[in-house]
Subunit: 398 residues, 2 copies
Amino acid sequence: MINQEFRKMIEGKSVIREQSEYATARGREIGYENVFDFSLGNPSVPCPPEYTQAVVDLHLREDPMVLHGYSPSQSLPSTRAAVAESLNRRFGMDYRMEHIFMTSGATGAIAHALRCVTCPGEQVLTFAPYFGEYGPYVAGTGAELKVVPADTESFQINFDAFEKAMNPKVAAVLLNTPNNPSGVVYSTDTIRRLARVLTEKQREYGHDIFLVSDEPYREIVFEGTDAPFVSAFYDNSLCCYSFSKSLSLPGERIGYVAVNPRCTDADLMAVIFSQISRKTGHNCPSSSVQLAVERVLDKTSDLSVYERNRDLIYDELVKLGFRVVRPGGTFYIFPQALEEDDVAFCEKAKKYDLIFVPGSAFGCPGYFRMAYCIGTEKVLRSFPVLERFVREEYGAGR
Amino acid sequence: MINQEFRKMIEGKSVIREQSEYATARGREIGYENVFDFSLGNPSVPCPPEYTQAVVDLHLREDPMVLHGYSPSQSLPSTRAAVAESLNRRFGMDYRMEHIFMTSGATGAIAHALRCVTCPGEQVLTFAPYFGEYGPYVAGTGAELKVVPADTESFQINFDAFEKAMNPKVAAVLLNTPNNPSGVVYSTDTIRRLARVLTEKQREYGHDIFLVSDEPYREIVFEGTDAPFVSAFYDNSLCCYSFSKSLSLPGERIGYVAVNPRCTDADLMAVIFSQISRKTGHNCPSSSVQLAVERVLDKTSDLSVYERNRDLIYDELVKLGFRVVRPGGTFYIFPQALEEDDVAFCEKAKKYDLIFVPGSAFGCPGYFRMAYCIGTEKVLRSFPVLERFVREEYGAGR
């Protein structure tokens, strides 16, 4: 019969998607240019021309039998080798081809990584605020997601809460840096301390604890931000990456898992990943997309608009009296709402055609997310509206 | 800890892959042109030039933000609508956009379809001979795969065995026509009779039984073969398709599920599929690949080589005394081995650099599969070797 578990998921709709759909519908009424849609984390700049050129070249010059042939179950060797080389050069790592497994974006990467390093009944810890889709990702593995409350002062890790949450059932810690929704990048101090706690706990519990690091925003880090490469600090680490944001290719579904060569069973992981694919029905990303990103691994889209928008929005929010941590990367900012009820706050904002996402969708009520991957012109046009919203709804003089 | 279930799967290696790897290794010793490699079902003809042109045009002319943007969770509306229109026109169906869900090949299609229409603990029936990967596909859903023994006379359905296997726990029947490995296409009589049994059993058990039809070889049907469109005969039917074989794009991972508009909850299925994606980590196939196949839905590669090879090989096998059913499609043929032990038979063939796959890998011991998606020149060169193998190993005069 029709699976009721999946059927019920329909009701638990994504809040982000609901806000985005509202913005689109509202746009049809008043013109989308008049809706200040800060709901969706969709890149607002095109892919680099080198990517387009790579795709065209491959299709005009490569043997179609090679270009469109089956990938080996562990993905294309040339792409895996190129990713390893790029990571080694940029981050002083020593990955080999065997440690890289190409996936359908970061979602596929996390799905494979978590299935590999957890067993049903074990726990996966993550840190608030966190991307809401971690819920179904972890549920799909049979493990249980536990959320460590946020450190709302800095949006680094709340270590007191983390140490309290640790227990022998924890098989993996899932973190996201640069962080969606806070925009904060975990510092070298944070990652060092995290590694120390995990190392201690591994010893105490007598089993591995894997660090699954979700890094789709790794290339969107602003000047002056301390942005360590997480896997350099902890052996049992799996780095999950996506080209969706750095190359503006979200629809192409291309990313990878990089397994730390010093991880337990490091050389076996990609082989296990390929077995996982057989059960989830995912057999590698598109071969031509693998080959195309292989040619532009060190390129990015022109990401400067995000830093410009960050500067403008942060200053404006501070001016208007918001309590807000300055993002070091991504295209998100996560201010405290002007009332305790973040959902009510975002509802009121809608009256002004300002579309935000309530922090409770990220396990952090009382805050709200603005996704500023939109044109700077629109950002600037939103400021008088934001000012009016704050004044009319929450009183002047703030 | 590292998931032992997936780890153990490594040992249960695919027999097809083992034979193929042997052929590749042997090719390195004696030159691959001297290995008569009938192991892998990999298309041997290039994609049609119209596909290449579509990809190049899209990349040179389309807005990259649209081309590479996120697909909605149910996949791209224009592609879904075009697939529905093509199926309606060609097979007299009445699909609407809502009934089409683009997937990562037939594997993704089956993974989604089965997860939707079964619950853990229920049964999925399939008919021998069957594609061995159905094992992990079904295991991944939590349901149990039950195999109905083959009708080795015709390789149509063994209805006596089927009716015996039916029971109230059966939630879905998974069939594959044109069939891998037999090459046989289920006839209109077969599909009608199957539909009649399923309809009766639905009434008897008081619940839906879904027919999941795996049809990646639908376009590879030879002249004079009766090849009905399965879903036209049974309401609770889900058609799983892949462009891997018809457009020679196996590496691009592109296919779909088409939900019969008269199916229970027909309009809800694709919505449920999109929820399933959240848990398996598969979020639509590549957007640019969706858009490219949308432009060439009614094209195929030049598939004539497969029919030419079928004619030659069938005649040769008959001449050599093999008992074999003449394939109506695909690029497989499935003769009876010359001894009871099909594995031993295939091992002996290796001494002659003839690489076959034992029928036991398809739930049908005593037979062997030849994949004739290779050049006709090589097919012809294999005949004297085949003849020598038969004579030397199994005696003259056969």
